[in-house]
Amino acid sequence: MRLALLVLAVVALLVSSVAAQARYPKSVVILTTHSSPGGGSDVFLREMAPHLSRVMGITVVVENVAGGSGARAMAMMAKAKPDGGTFYATTPTFIYTSLLSSPAARYTDLEPIVNVFFDPEVLYTAASSRFKTLQQVIDQARGGRGRWGAGNPASLERQALERLKQRAGVSPVVATFEGGGDMLINVLNQTLDMGIGELQEIRGQLDAGRVRLLAVVGDERLMQFPDVGTVKEQGIDLSVRKFRGLAGPKGMPREIVAAWEAAVPKLLADPAYRQLYTRNNLQPGFIPHAEYVKFMSDFGGQTQAFLKQSGVIR
């Protein structure tokens, strides 16, 4: 009886691995990130890996290639074989690094595959502050007395605030910090009227009722906070999308791209994983390959225009 079970198990294992190979040419896929262990992308990938392994019938391994703000990971990826065995986890960082310095490989040397998530960006203030709405913060800035904050100097968040200033026709000062946590202190002690950041960064304070959300800087409201309106709904045409997806070396075969286009929606619909990423405040944001290529080139173009306009690059 035991022997029969064992034989059955071995057969099942063989069948499933054969089936997996029919679906995807590699049994082990390495996802690289420029984030060091414990960083944003690293945590995201390590949580995704077991679920992705299950959905695709492969083994997904996470590898940290830190250094040079993504330059090293990009260079490694540009030289990798386009066989579906290695991918790079994209975030806006790799576009900023490409534009701010001259790395060996730029974002344009990689092939965007698909997008998976968006990190929701929100505008927030201290719960004890007198500002109840985004409009009140903007009104305060009208007299030139506003103080807004973004986590890092050359970042998507800074870019969003600069555009918000333009579109709202106000001129507050925009202070930048060494990361979202550093800025959060200055929002909590009301040095700043308003900060912009990822929902995940302020979650601890939000749960404790110490910060107030003013608006979502995206196209849609967040499922966790249906009462908070978007900036667009409040009459200002502004939306940024902090993406998390995959890129690979150029010349990726069509069938591998198709395999990811099929797997990612399945992954996002998976109930166990859905529960996890909802808790971590990620918004599912699948973008198929063709669209993602355009998305990335638009994003790069806009960022380059912003950096030139603000005098950061020539």
């Binding site: 050359a154 700043l192 601890g204 110490r210 808790r279």
Partner: protein, 485 residues
Amino acid sequence: MFSATLITVVAAFAGVSWGILGGALPGISPSITMALLLPLTYSMDPTAAIVMLASTYVGAEYGGSIPAILIRTPGTNAAAATVIDGYAMKQQGRAGEALGISLYSGFVGGLFGLGVLVLLTEPLSTLALAFTPPAYCALGVLGLSVIASLARESLVKGLMAGVIGLMISTVGTDPVTGLSRFTFGSPDLLSGVPAILVMVGLFAVGELLVQSTERGWVQPAPERARIRFPGPALWRRIALPQAIGSVIGTFEGLMPGGGGAVSSFLAYNEARRWSRHKEEFGHGSPEGIAAPEAANNTVACTALVPMLSLGIPSSNSAAVLLGGFLMHGLIPGPMLFVSHAEVVDGLYAGLLAANIAMVIVGYVIMGPCIWLVSRPRPYLTAFIYALVVSGVFAIETSLFHVGLVLAFGVVGFGLRYVQAPLLPMVLGVVLGFMVESNYRRALVLSSGDHMTFLQDPVSAVFLALALLFVLGSVIGHARTRRRQA
């Protein structure tokens, strides 16, 4: 219950051992030591994982003092101040005693920090919020003012070394505009020159270069390969410096930026000011080890105050620990104490176990460490070169950074040649970015009004203290000079 306790204790021992190892290896900072461990903790029980990471931090802060005392190379930024008196004691054949003082002071500081963490997290987290950009800038200036007294032989040389350090800290991304400064287009320099690499270059490589120029290496007097804990008399003598270190460490832990390094320098400086044996400082004073070592181990506990209660990491190491929390679906912040009280309690218990484990593990490995550095000079020198180069390459995976370390070794050699002190340069590198970015940030927020530094109460107090420090040292310098003349 029993098995949970057992797992916590095992995790604390494992973390501390790993931390001491990582801290003791030159070029591997506490945060890197923790980051290397992080992927392994992913599948562990949340409390055990957090305890292991926090224990690594505790162990690494102690581990850094081992090479500082034995081979004049601080293993961590925070151990830089320990080099001065620690290495002096080693040269007098009192290495075992120096290590004993370091271990005992680290234990005292760690317990003090833990007490603060358990009892005062709530009120102290409010204090952390009192720090605005002008206050951080002023804190950095206060730290830099220590240069005035670190540079005892020559104030001018000390200031020169400090300014070179400040200049190095300007490499990287501009804190306000995001421009790349002095990076020559290289992405390797986008995030600046890591302070730990500057330190390894200046101290370890520089020292090796100096030794290579010495003729006829004498075999050092055989050390007693045993650690010696301080007796009652010494116990009383180092109680005051330990108290100074613990209090300074408590406040430093709350504030983002400086971390252990600022606290150990400030503690060293204050311990000397209040000491009855001022003249011994720099020549192997036990107090000069007790103060900084108590301070940096206090920081390893109190840095968790803003991390746990606000979700804001005050150092790189705390940031890695934050990553550990997030990986297990725990969100630090005021609600953590309500929703996951068991993890917080487990962490407190684990930290207690870690501080005890630190003493045990520290005691056990001390013998082998002292034996190791008493090997013939040529072997030791070659071994340290190999350790430094492979360590830096393993962490950064780039030859560029290896080159950087060797280049700073040459700088360190040059500074020794002209008899300029090295520590002011280290302070400049560690604090330069903090001072600059917060100075400019404060001015952005005040629309260019410098009065903001005096209007902010915290900033005003720090600046006044810094002024007193500098004036005091300048007057002291002038007096010594007059006496000599």
